[in-house]
Symmetry: C2
Subunit: 144 residues, 2 copies
DNA sequence: TTTATTTCGGATATTTTTATCCTATTTATA
DNA sequence: TATAAATAGGATAAAAATATCCGAAATAAA
Protein backbone atom coordinates (compact mmCIF):
# COMPACT_ATOMS: atom_id res chain seq x y z
CA UNK A 1 0.00 0.00 0.00
CA UNK A 2 2.53 2.57 1.16
CA UNK A 3 6.26 2.41 0.39
CA UNK A 4 8.70 1.60 3.20
CA UNK A 5 9.83 5.22 2.99
CA UNK A 6 6.28 6.37 3.61
CA UNK A 7 5.76 3.98 6.52
CA UNK A 8 8.91 5.30 8.14
CA UNK A 9 7.82 8.86 7.41
CA UNK A 10 4.47 8.40 9.13
CA UNK A 11 5.94 6.72 12.20
CA UNK A 12 8.75 9.28 12.43
CA UNK A 13 6.28 12.15 12.22
CA UNK A 14 4.23 10.69 15.05
CA UNK A 15 7.29 10.36 17.27
CA UNK A 16 8.36 13.90 16.46
CA UNK A 17 4.84 15.09 17.29
CA UNK A 18 4.92 13.43 20.71
CA UNK A 19 8.20 15.12 21.55
CA UNK A 20 7.29 18.50 20.13
CA UNK A 21 4.23 18.39 22.35
CA UNK A 22 6.67 18.34 25.23
CA UNK A 23 8.93 20.97 23.71
CA UNK A 24 11.69 18.53 22.74
CA UNK A 25 13.50 18.22 19.44
CA UNK A 26 14.62 14.78 18.30
CA UNK A 27 17.46 13.42 16.13
CA UNK A 28 17.34 10.82 13.33
CA UNK A 29 19.17 8.52 15.70
CA UNK A 30 16.48 8.69 18.39
CA UNK A 31 13.75 8.45 15.80
CA UNK A 32 15.22 5.41 14.05
CA UNK A 33 15.62 3.65 17.37
CA UNK A 34 12.06 4.40 18.42
CA UNK A 35 10.39 3.37 15.18
CA UNK A 36 12.82 0.54 14.40
CA UNK A 37 14.04 1.86 11.04
CA UNK A 38 17.42 2.30 9.30
CA UNK A 39 18.85 5.57 10.57
CA UNK A 40 20.44 7.08 7.44
CA UNK A 41 17.48 6.17 5.28
CA UNK A 42 15.14 7.66 7.84
CA UNK A 43 17.21 10.86 7.82
CA UNK A 44 16.69 11.17 4.08
CA UNK A 45 12.95 10.83 4.52
CA UNK A 46 12.97 13.48 7.23
CA UNK A 47 14.75 15.81 4.81
CA UNK A 48 11.97 15.26 2.29
CA UNK A 49 9.32 16.01 4.91
CA UNK A 50 11.16 19.22 5.80
CA UNK A 51 11.34 20.24 2.14
CA UNK A 52 7.60 19.70 1.90
CA UNK A 53 7.14 21.72 5.09
CA UNK A 54 5.37 18.89 6.90
CA UNK A 55 7.89 19.05 9.73
CA UNK A 56 10.59 21.55 10.66
CA UNK A 57 14.30 21.08 11.25
CA UNK A 58 16.80 23.12 13.27
CA UNK A 59 20.44 22.72 12.32
CA UNK A 60 23.42 22.83 14.62
CA UNK A 61 23.93 22.10 18.28
CA UNK A 62 20.71 21.61 20.23
CA UNK A 63 18.93 21.26 16.91
CA UNK A 64 16.76 18.42 15.65
CA UNK A 65 13.35 17.79 14.15
CA UNK A 66 10.14 19.30 15.45
CA UNK A 67 6.63 20.30 14.47
CA UNK A 68 4.71 23.37 15.51
CA UNK A 69 2.75 22.23 18.55
CA UNK A 70 -0.22 24.40 17.60
CA UNK A 71 -0.43 22.96 14.11
CA UNK A 72 -0.44 19.32 15.24
CA UNK A 73 -4.16 18.95 14.82
CA UNK A 74 -4.06 20.38 11.30
CA UNK A 75 -1.31 18.14 10.00
CA UNK A 76 -3.01 15.21 8.30
CA UNK A 77 -1.68 11.85 7.20
CA UNK A 78 -2.47 12.82 3.62
CA UNK A 79 0.25 15.48 3.70
CA UNK A 80 2.90 12.96 4.72
CA UNK A 81 1.80 10.40 2.14
CA UNK A 82 1.72 12.96 -0.66
CA UNK A 83 5.13 14.31 0.32
CA UNK A 84 6.76 10.88 0.13
CA UNK A 85 4.74 8.65 -2.19
CA UNK A 86 3.24 11.41 -4.31
CA UNK A 87 -0.43 11.48 -5.23
CA UNK A 88 -0.47 8.32 -7.30
CA UNK A 89 -2.47 6.49 -4.68
CA UNK A 90 -5.03 9.31 -4.99
CA UNK A 91 -5.20 9.80 -8.71
CA UNK A 92 -3.39 6.91 -10.35
CA UNK A 93 -5.28 4.13 -12.12
CA UNK A 94 -5.68 0.93 -10.10
CA UNK A 95 -4.42 -1.11 -13.04
CA UNK A 96 -1.71 1.32 -14.12
CA UNK A 97 -3.35 2.73 -17.25
CA UNK A 98 -1.83 6.05 -18.29
CA UNK A 99 -5.21 7.39 -19.19
CA UNK A 100 -8.09 6.20 -17.00
CA UNK A 101 -11.14 8.33 -16.31
CA UNK A 102 -14.92 8.34 -16.60
CA UNK A 103 -14.71 8.45 -20.39
CA UNK A 104 -12.06 5.79 -20.74
CA UNK A 105 -12.12 3.67 -17.57
CA UNK A 106 -10.00 0.65 -16.77
CA UNK A 107 -11.88 -2.56 -15.85
CA UNK A 108 -11.91 -1.78 -12.12
CA UNK A 109 -12.31 2.00 -12.32
CA UNK A 110 -15.79 2.14 -10.78
CA UNK A 111 -15.15 -0.60 -8.22
CA UNK A 112 -11.95 1.05 -7.16
CA UNK A 113 -13.61 4.36 -6.45
CA UNK A 114 -15.10 3.26 -3.15
CA UNK A 115 -11.78 1.92 -1.92
CA UNK A 116 -9.94 5.04 -2.92
CA UNK A 117 -12.55 7.31 -1.38
CA UNK A 118 -12.39 5.38 1.87
CA UNK A 119 -8.61 5.68 1.88
CA UNK A 120 -8.72 9.34 0.96
CA UNK A 121 -11.22 10.05 3.69
CA UNK A 122 -9.04 8.26 6.22
CA UNK A 123 -5.85 10.05 5.22
CA UNK A 124 -7.44 13.48 5.10
CA UNK A 125 -9.25 13.16 8.39
CA UNK A 126 -6.56 11.66 10.55
CA UNK A 127 -4.32 14.19 12.30
CA UNK A 128 -0.84 13.76 13.68
CA UNK A 129 -2.24 14.96 17.00
CA UNK A 130 -4.66 12.10 17.51
CA UNK A 131 -2.12 9.50 16.42
CA UNK A 132 0.44 10.96 18.83
CA UNK A 133 -2.10 10.96 21.68
CA UNK A 134 -2.83 7.28 21.17
CA UNK A 135 0.85 6.46 21.42
CA UNK A 136 1.28 8.59 24.53
CA UNK A 137 -1.62 6.91 26.26
CA UNK A 138 -0.41 3.43 25.34
CA UNK A 139 -3.33 2.66 23.05
CA UNK A 140 -1.13 2.08 20.04
CA UNK A 141 2.53 1.34 19.29
CA UNK A 142 5.27 2.52 16.93
CA UNK A 143 7.09 -0.79 16.78
CA UNK A 144 6.57 -4.45 17.44
CA UNK B 1 -1.44 -0.47 -4.43
CA UNK B 2 -0.81 -3.53 -6.59
CA UNK B 3 2.55 -4.51 -8.08
CA UNK B 4 3.10 -4.17 -11.81
CA UNK B 5 3.08 -7.96 -11.96
CA UNK B 6 -0.35 -7.99 -10.35
CA UNK B 7 -1.71 -5.30 -12.66
CA UNK B 8 -0.55 -7.31 -15.66
CA UNK B 9 -1.97 -10.47 -14.12
CA UNK B 10 -5.42 -8.95 -13.69
CA UNK B 11 -5.55 -7.47 -17.19
CA UNK B 12 -4.21 -10.68 -18.73
CA UNK B 13 -6.81 -12.76 -16.91
CA UNK B 14 -9.59 -10.54 -18.20
CA UNK B 15 -8.37 -10.88 -21.78
CA UNK B 16 -8.07 -14.64 -21.41
CA UNK B 17 -11.60 -14.70 -20.00
CA UNK B 18 -13.01 -12.84 -22.98
CA UNK B 19 -11.40 -15.31 -25.37
CA UNK B 20 -12.27 -18.40 -23.39
CA UNK B 21 -15.86 -17.24 -23.51
CA UNK B 22 -15.57 -17.61 -27.26
CA UNK B 23 -13.69 -20.89 -27.05
CA UNK B 24 -10.33 -19.44 -28.04
CA UNK B 25 -6.95 -19.94 -26.38
CA UNK B 26 -4.49 -17.06 -26.40
CA UNK B 27 -0.70 -16.74 -26.35
CA UNK B 28 1.53 -14.50 -24.22
CA UNK B 29 2.25 -12.57 -27.41
CA UNK B 30 -1.40 -11.76 -28.07
CA UNK B 31 -2.00 -11.00 -24.41
CA UNK B 32 0.96 -8.64 -24.08
CA UNK B 33 -0.10 -6.79 -27.18
CA UNK B 34 -3.66 -6.42 -25.97
CA UNK B 35 -2.85 -5.25 -22.45
CA UNK B 36 0.28 -3.30 -23.42
CA UNK B 37 2.75 -5.20 -21.26
CA UNK B 38 6.23 -6.72 -21.70
CA UNK B 39 5.72 -10.12 -23.27
CA UNK B 40 8.29 -12.32 -21.48
CA UNK B 41 7.48 -10.81 -18.09
CA UNK B 42 3.79 -11.36 -18.74
CA UNK B 43 4.51 -14.98 -19.61
CA UNK B 44 6.15 -15.47 -16.21
CA UNK B 45 3.08 -14.07 -14.50
CA UNK B 46 0.84 -16.36 -16.49
CA UNK B 47 2.94 -19.29 -15.29
CA UNK B 48 2.35 -18.20 -11.72
CA UNK B 49 -1.40 -17.95 -12.31
CA UNK B 50 -1.38 -21.45 -13.78
CA UNK B 51 0.55 -22.81 -10.79
CA UNK B 52 -2.06 -21.25 -8.52
CA UNK B 53 -4.78 -22.78 -10.71
CA UNK B 54 -6.40 -19.43 -11.46
CA UNK B 55 -6.07 -20.03 -15.19
CA UNK B 56 -5.21 -23.09 -17.25
CA UNK B 57 -2.54 -23.64 -19.89
CA UNK B 58 -2.32 -26.10 -22.74
CA UNK B 59 1.14 -26.85 -24.08
CA UNK B 60 2.13 -27.63 -27.63
CA UNK B 61 0.64 -26.75 -30.98
CA UNK B 62 -2.80 -25.17 -30.79
CA UNK B 63 -2.20 -24.61 -27.11
CA UNK B 64 -2.39 -21.40 -25.12
CA UNK B 65 -4.00 -19.96 -22.00
CA UNK B 66 -7.64 -20.37 -21.13
CA UNK B 67 -10.09 -20.45 -18.25
CA UNK B 68 -13.02 -22.74 -17.74
CA UNK B 69 -15.94 -20.83 -19.23
CA UNK B 70 -18.29 -22.16 -16.59
CA UNK B 71 -16.10 -21.03 -13.73
CA UNK B 72 -15.73 -17.46 -14.95
CA UNK B 73 -18.28 -16.11 -12.55
CA UNK B 74 -16.62 -17.82 -9.60
CA UNK B 75 -13.11 -16.56 -10.27
CA UNK B 76 -12.69 -13.43 -8.17
CA UNK B 77 -10.07 -10.67 -8.32
CA UNK B 78 -8.94 -11.71 -4.84
CA UNK B 79 -7.62 -15.01 -6.22
CA UNK B 80 -5.43 -13.25 -8.78
CA UNK B 81 -4.12 -10.72 -6.28
CA UNK B 82 -3.34 -13.41 -3.70
CA UNK B 83 -1.60 -15.56 -6.31
CA UNK B 84 0.74 -12.75 -7.37
CA UNK B 85 1.09 -10.25 -4.51
CA UNK B 86 0.36 -12.67 -1.68
CA UNK B 87 -2.02 -11.81 1.13
CA UNK B 88 -0.03 -8.93 2.59
CA UNK B 89 -2.56 -6.40 1.39
CA UNK B 90 -5.14 -8.42 3.33
CA UNK B 91 -3.36 -9.18 6.55
CA UNK B 92 -0.23 -7.02 6.60
CA UNK B 93 0.06 -4.00 8.91
CA UNK B 94 -0.50 -0.66 7.19
CA UNK B 95 2.70 0.69 8.71
CA UNK B 96 4.74 -2.48 8.29
CA UNK B 97 4.84 -3.65 11.92
CA UNK B 98 5.68 -7.34 12.18
CA UNK B 99 3.18 -7.75 14.95
CA UNK B 100 0.05 -5.64 14.70
CA UNK B 101 -3.30 -6.74 16.04
CA UNK B 102 -6.07 -5.73 18.40
CA UNK B 103 -3.82 -6.23 21.41
CA UNK B 104 -0.80 -4.46 19.97
CA UNK B 105 -2.07 -2.13 17.22
CA UNK B 106 -0.02 0.24 15.09
CA UNK B 107 -1.12 3.89 15.10
CA UNK B 108 -3.44 3.49 12.14
CA UNK B 109 -4.69 -0.02 12.85
CA UNK B 110 -8.30 0.95 13.56
CA UNK B 111 -8.47 3.62 10.87
CA UNK B 112 -7.04 1.24 8.32
CA UNK B 113 -9.64 -1.41 8.97
CA UNK B 114 -12.35 0.35 6.99
CA UNK B 115 -10.07 0.83 4.00
CA UNK B 116 -8.94 -2.76 4.06
CA UNK B 117 -12.47 -4.07 4.44
CA UNK B 118 -13.63 -1.98 1.52
CA UNK B 119 -10.76 -3.33 -0.58
CA UNK B 120 -11.35 -6.89 0.56
CA UNK B 121 -15.02 -6.62 -0.23
CA UNK B 122 -14.26 -5.28 -3.68
CA UNK B 123 -11.71 -7.97 -4.51
CA UNK B 124 -13.82 -10.82 -3.20
CA UNK B 125 -17.00 -9.72 -4.90
CA UNK B 126 -15.69 -8.84 -8.33
CA UNK B 127 -15.64 -11.73 -10.80
CA UNK B 128 -13.60 -12.17 -13.95
CA UNK B 129 -16.89 -12.63 -15.77
CA UNK B 130 -18.27 -9.18 -15.07
CA UNK B 131 -14.96 -7.50 -15.85
CA UNK B 132 -14.74 -9.40 -19.14
CA UNK B 133 -18.31 -8.44 -20.05
CA UNK B 134 -17.56 -4.75 -19.55
CA UNK B 135 -14.62 -4.97 -21.92
CA UNK B 136 -16.65 -6.86 -24.52
CA UNK B 137 -19.41 -4.28 -24.44
CA UNK B 138 -16.96 -1.38 -24.69
CA UNK B 139 -17.75 -0.02 -21.23
CA UNK B 140 -14.14 -0.36 -20.02
CA UNK B 141 -10.69 -0.77 -21.57
CA UNK B 142 -7.57 -2.87 -21.08
CA UNK B 143 -5.14 -0.23 -22.28
CA UNK B 144 -4.92 3.51 -22.84
C1' DT C 1 36.32 32.67 17.57
C1' DT C 2 36.78 28.01 18.31
C1' DT C 3 34.50 23.72 19.20
C1' DA C 4 31.06 20.35 19.43
C1' DT C 5 26.77 19.13 17.62
C1' DT C 6 23.51 18.61 14.26
C1' DT C 7 21.08 18.62 9.66
C1' DC C 8 22.02 18.61 4.50
C1' DG C 9 23.17 16.44 0.44
C1' DG C 10 26.01 13.89 -2.85
C1' DA C 11 28.03 9.39 -3.88
C1' DT C 12 27.70 4.65 -3.52
C1' DA C 13 26.05 -0.04 -2.24
C1' DT C 14 22.51 -3.54 -1.70
C1' DT C 15 18.14 -5.62 -2.47
C1' DT C 16 13.90 -6.15 -4.81
C1' DT C 17 11.14 -5.62 -8.75
C1' DT C 18 10.72 -5.53 -13.45
C1' DA C 19 12.18 -7.19 -17.83
C1' DT C 20 14.73 -10.06 -21.38
C1' DC C 21 16.80 -14.11 -23.55
C1' DC C 22 17.50 -18.74 -24.58
C1' DT C 23 16.80 -23.67 -24.25
C1' DA C 24 13.98 -27.64 -22.83
C1' DT C 25 9.69 -29.88 -22.94
C1' DT C 26 5.15 -30.84 -24.57
C1' DT C 27 1.73 -31.81 -28.10
C1' DA C 28 -1.30 -31.66 -32.38
C1' DT C 29 -0.96 -32.53 -37.01
C1' DA C 30 1.00 -33.75 -41.49
C1' DT D 1 7.55 -40.41 -36.68
C1' DA D 2 9.07 -35.96 -37.87
C1' DT D 3 7.91 -31.22 -37.56
C1' DA D 4 6.13 -27.02 -36.15
C1' DA D 5 3.95 -24.53 -32.54
C1' DA D 6 3.34 -23.72 -27.80
C1' DT D 7 4.27 -23.25 -22.73
C1' DA D 8 7.92 -23.99 -18.85
C1' DG D 9 11.65 -22.46 -16.60
C1' DG D 10 16.54 -21.21 -15.70
C1' DA D 11 19.97 -17.57 -16.28
C1' DT D 12 20.75 -12.79 -16.84
C1' DA D 13 20.07 -7.83 -17.25
C1' DA D 14 18.12 -3.36 -16.15
C1' DA D 15 15.64 -0.30 -13.26
C1' DA D 16 13.75 1.16 -8.99
C1' DA D 17 13.54 1.05 -4.05
C1' DT D 18 15.96 0.65 0.05
C1' DA D 19 20.01 1.47 2.68
C1' DT D 20 24.80 3.23 3.94
C1' DC D 21 28.72 6.40 4.15
C1' DC D 22 31.02 10.63 4.43
C1' DG D 23 32.14 15.44 4.02
C1' DA D 24 29.90 20.20 3.87
C1' DA D 25 27.21 23.66 6.06
C1' DA D 26 24.89 25.65 9.95
C1' DT D 27 24.47 26.91 14.77
C1' DA D 28 24.58 27.19 19.92
C1' DA D 29 27.60 27.53 23.61
C1' DA D 30 32.11 27.76 25.78
Amino acid sequence: MFSKACEYGIKASIFIAINSYEGKRVSPKEIAKEINSPQAFTAKILQALVRHKVINSVKGAYGGFEVNKNELKYIKLSQIVKAIDGDNIYNGCGLGLEKCDENHPCPVHEKFKDVRNELKHMLENTSLEELAMDIKSGISFLKA
